[in-house]
Every structure is written in C-alpha cells, then in structure tokens.
C-alpha cells in the first residue's frame, strides 16, 4: 500500500471515530436525560428510572460510549425502544430499500450527466452548451421532493404508469420492486445529475486547457482522439470526488424522498424514530449513515490511486 493510501486509511479511521463521538455527544449529552427525552417530561418518575437502567444511563458517559462502539463493531446492538427488536436487524431490513435506491439514483444521475456534460464541453459556448447549462441550472434549483411530487402527479395521477408510493418488497420479484424505486430514483437523480453534468463539463473544459492536451493535438491527434485518450481520464479525477460527495448527498436525499413515496427505508425509519423519540435507533442510524459517507470517501481515494499513477509507489 502506498503512503497516500496509508494516510487516507488513517484519516478514514480517525473520521469514523470522530463522527461516532460527535453523534454520541449530540444525542446523549446535549439534550440532558435521554430517558426523559424518550418518555416525555410528564412521564412518571418510576418509568423513567426503569428506562434509565435499561439504557445503562447509570454508568459514566465514557463507559456508555465505549460499550456502544464495541457493540457497533460486533454488530450486537441494543433493542429499539419502540420496535423491541435489535436496531441492527431493523436497519439491515431497511437498507435493502435505501441502498438500491441510492445506487439506482447514482447510476441514473451518471447516465444523464456524462453524455450531457461531455456534449456541453465539446460545444462550448454554442447553442447546445447554453441549452444544457440553462436546463441544469433549473434542475439544480428544483427541490428533490417537489420533483418527486411532480413525477407522482404526472406518472401516477395522470398516466397511471406507476403507483404514487409504497414498496411491494423484494419478495414480490425484482421487476415490481425496481419499478417502485424508479420514480424516487429519478427524483433524486434529476438534481444530482444536473449538478454532475455542470461539473463534468467544467472539469473537461479545465482539462482541455492543459498543456498536455495541446501536446496531444500537436502530435496530430484529432479532437476526438484527444478527448478520449487524454482529456476524459484526467477530467475523471475531480469528477470522481464529486460523485463520492454526491453519493453522500443521495443518502441524505433518500431520507426525504422515502417519505414522499412512503418507502420503508432508513430515511423513513429515521423520521419515525425521531417522532417516537426512539433515540437508540436515531443514534445508530446517524452514525451508520456517517460511516457510509466516510467509507465512500475512502473508496474515492482508492479510485484516485487507481486512476493517477502519481499516487502509486513508484519503482524508481
């Protein structure tokens, strides 16, 4: 492993730890007594005392933090206060919807953005570019949940092609399940795709100004060959970063979109747990989403190393 990756790995671990501390502090220390938060202020004293014991609140904060983290790592989590099942189990079930949704949305977003961004860069300042950039400017400004509502209005209410929400479960077959995820994924992908297209365009335009692109043209390569052999791979480096960040945004976006389409994913679970004041679930969910974001950033770093020879240990 190169020094670059070793450093990134250390950062990865440190950030995970930092994020878990932050979550713990925010949800356990700040609001005062979690038992009070969960049961409400008018709960009887005895019930609160029982819950405090159940949550291990009699132990010092550090012990509770360490216990929580070691549980997280071994996968044995506490029971949800409302659902009375281990949180890990709950989350696993819900991830079966959220992860495919996020991946589908990311795939759609890249599928929109890549050709549009490349085309816009190639027709820089011509009408095609202007149209794509204006459209993406509008796409960026549309809130994803409104986009979702518009999609429901058009495809569910008017055309009856899709249901207005809900999820049949993977047991009903991959086809119907994917169909239920398609509109939500499109709603998420519109905004992300618009951002990505702009970004791809500007990354390509920046790369096209590089000296080595001029060198390639001076060798006699056509514009097309230069684009494919020299521009795109170099432009991929900044684009990979944005795709990584976007995946984090998509995960966050699913929280909202799942609620628009009544999809039983982690976003809906999070909101329900907040409404139920089920802090045990909220805490684990938050740290899990953060862990996913950090993991994606680490994967992005791995991708960098694969794309860019400057980050590999060299054999000189």
């Amino acid at each position: 492993m190169s020094l670059f990756l070793a450093k990134r790995f250390a950062t990865f671990i440190a950030t995970l730890l930092g994020a878990s501390v932050l979550t713990f502090l925010a949800l356990e220390i700040l609001p005062g007594d979690p038992a009070l938060v969960i049961l409400g202020i008018d709960a009887p004293e005895s019930a609160i005392a029982v819950l405090r014991l159940e949550l291990g609140l009699d132990r010092p904060a550090l012990a509770r933090y360490l216990g929580w983290v070691s549980n997280l790592m071994t996968g044995t989590s506490a029971n949800s206060y409302t659902y009375k099942v281990p949180v890990a189990e709950l989350i696993r079930e819900r991830l079966e919807i959220t992860l495919p949704l996020a991946v589908l949305a990311m795939a759609l977003s890249i599928l929109f953005a890549l050709p549009l961004g490349i085309y816009a860069a190639q027709s820089h300042d011509k009408s095609g570019d202007v149209v794509i950039m204006s459209a993406s400017q509008i796409g960026i400004s549309v809130p994803n949940f409104w986009m979702a509502i518009l999609l429901i209005m058009f495809f569910a209410v008017n055309l009856h092609w899709f249901a207005a929400g809900g999820f049949p479960g993977w047991s009903s077959g991959v086809g119907p399940a994917l169909k239920a995820l398609l509109l939500p994924a499109i709603a998420l992908a519109t905004v992300q795709g618009a951002i990505l297209a702009r970004f791809i365009r500007s990354a390509i335009l920046d790369t096209m100004r590089e000296d080595y692109v001029r060198t390639a043209r001076a060798k006699g390569l056509t514009r097309r060959a230069t684009m494919w052999r020299h521009v795109l791979r170099n432009a991929a480096i900044p684009v990979v970063t944005i795709v990584g960040l976007q995946f984090a945004n998509l995960l966050a976006g699913t929280i909202v979109i799942e609620n628009v389409f009544a999809l039983p994913g982690i976003g809906r679970l999070l909101l329900q747990s907040i409404t139920n004041r089920d802090l045990v679930v909220v805490r684990d969910l938050v740290v899990m989403i953060a862990a996913m974001v950090v993991t994606i950033n680490f994967i992005v770093d791995l991708l960098y190393a694969a794309i860019d020879p400057r980050l590999k240990p060299h054999d000189v």
């Binding site: 930092g18 932050l22 979550t23 938060v37 400017q137 809130p143 966050a252 929280i255 909101l271 909220v282």
Partner: protein, 280 residues
C-alpha cells in the same frame, strides 16, 4: 480591466442580472407581504376551500380555503428569515474559524480543519434532522441547525482563500511594517477574500431555503401557523389525486428563489474573478 466598474461588468453578465432580479423580486414580495396581500393569508373559509385559480383567488385556495397566493407571499418571509439568520450564523462562525486557522497555522489550523472534516462526514440535512431530533421540531431549531452545519463549509473555504492571500507580497510588506497577525487578517486578508465569501453566502442562502423547505415538508421544520412553502407542499401532496395544482405553486416559489440565488452567485463569481470569467 481597471477602468471597468463593478456595476458595468455586472450589467453585462446575464446570470448576475437574472439572478439579481429574481432575488430582488423575492425580497420585494416578502416586504410587500408585510404590508399587503390580496387576501388575509390566514383567514380560513371552509365554503371556498379547494377553489381552482380564478380572478379572485389567482392561485386558488387550499384545504382551509386560504388564498394560496397570499399564503405563498407570506411564506417568502419565512424562507428569507431562515436564509438570512442561518447564513449569518454560518458565516460569522465559519469565517472567523477559517481566518483563525489560516492566521495561526500549525496545530490550531490542523485541529479546526479536522473538526470540520468530522462534520463533513454527515450529510447536511442529516445533521439538521439530528439536531431537530434532540432539540425538538420548530423554525428556530431548524434555522440553528442549518446555520451550524454551514459553518464547516465557510471555514474550509475561508481558510483556503486566506492561505492563498497570506503568501502574497503585500502581506510581507505589512509584516515588515510591524503589523500583527490580527491586524493583517482584518486589514489585508479579509478584504481580499470578501468576494469569495459573498459568492458562498448566496450559495448557502439557496441551500438554506432548500433545507428549510425539506425540513418543513417532513414536518420537523417550521410549525403551523408559521407559513412555509415546504409544508404547503406536504399538505398539497395529500390532495394530489383531487387538487393537483395545489402542489405546483409553492414548488415554483422555492425553485425560483433558489434559481435566483444560484444565478446571482454564479454571476458574482464571474464578475469578481476575471480569471474564471475568461474561461467561460
């Protein structure tokens, strides 16, 4: 390019003009709604509920018979307030931290930036949701949450821009003149990175409006009776099979506000950074 005034360059920039006009319109609507709306935005009138757009109710009425146009106009106040307060929170703390990190260098800079990294591990809306979960739903908590979580972005951006200024020659000159870090930061660094910060302010403003709308849509943002575009959409969605148009206008209001601020930010960036402007 010295002869050109800022305004002259601005008026030649299409993004700046369009974004500026849209943003001015947003502010004007919010201000106007303080004094006048076509109808009382909060007056409930069950007999005239779900009226489609007409001469009396330009954008129709909602499930309580409230005038949608008036309600949207008053909603602009909420969006603007959330945007302004949260951006002021984020900017004040973020810029201060960024400037400190850049002036102090070494361990302080490292500590501030690593702390920002931890917060970046959380998608912004997730953090807002988490904070609202602990502090309880409501407009004020939403504002605070949105504001707090724009601090790291402001800090990172400020530090980056400030570091680029610290290595410039006029800083050395100021040093030689015996000025301290604090004075150099305020007299030389801040004025030179102001344009970067202003661009970021417009972008964060737009994001704050989107975040407030999302939180209110989820029911954990501003609570009734505070008018909110996001909650209008949530309520409209329940009637989507009967009165679909209710879900159209609040969305347009959000999109236009965000579009205006984004365009304004793009335009400002082009105007204040001639290097970028030439690239386009």
């Amino acid at each position: 390019m010295q002869g050109d005034t800022f305004l002259a360059r601005g008026l030649r920039n299409r993004s700046f003009v369009a974004g500026g006009l849209l943003t001015l319109a947003l502010v004007a609507v919010a201000l106007l709604s303080l004094a006048w709306t076509p109808h009382d935005p909060l007056r409930i009138s069950i007999p005239t509920r779900f009226a489609p757009p007409s001469a009396t109710h330009w954008l129709g009425t909602d499930q309580f018979g409230r005038d949608v146009l008036s309600y949207i106009m008053v909603g602009a106040q909420t969006s603007l307030t959330v945007g302004i307060v949260s951006v002021v929170i984020g900017m004040t703390f973020g810029v201060t931290l960024g400037l400190c990190a850049s002036a102090a260098r070494g361990a302080v800079e490292e500590a501030i930036m690593r702390a920002a990294d931890f917060i970046f591990a959380f998608p912004a809306i997730l953090l807002a949701i988490m904070l609202v979960a602990t502090l309880g739903p409501g407009a004020v908590n939403a504002i605070v949450a949105i504001g707090i979580f724009s601090i790291p972005e402001f800090a990172r951006l400020t530090r980056g821009a400030a570091n680029a200024i610290w290595v410039r020659e006029f800083i050395l000159a100021a040093r030689a003149a015996g000025k301290g870090d604090a004075r150099i930061t305020i007299e030389h660094v801040l004025p030179n990175i102001a344009s970067v910060i202003i661009v970021q302010v417009t972008i964060r403003f737009a994001l704050a409006i989107l975040a407030e709308a999302a939180l209110s849509y989820l029911g954990i943002g501003s609570q009734p009776p505070t008018p909110s575009w996001g909650r209008m959409l949530a309520e409209a969605q329940t009637r989507i099979f009967q009165n679909a148009w209710l879900a159209v206008f609040p969305g347009i209001a959000i999109a236009l506000s965000v579009l205006g601020l984004n365009l304004l930010g793009d335009g400002l960036r082009d105007i204040t950074d001639p290097r970028l402007a030439r690239k386009r």
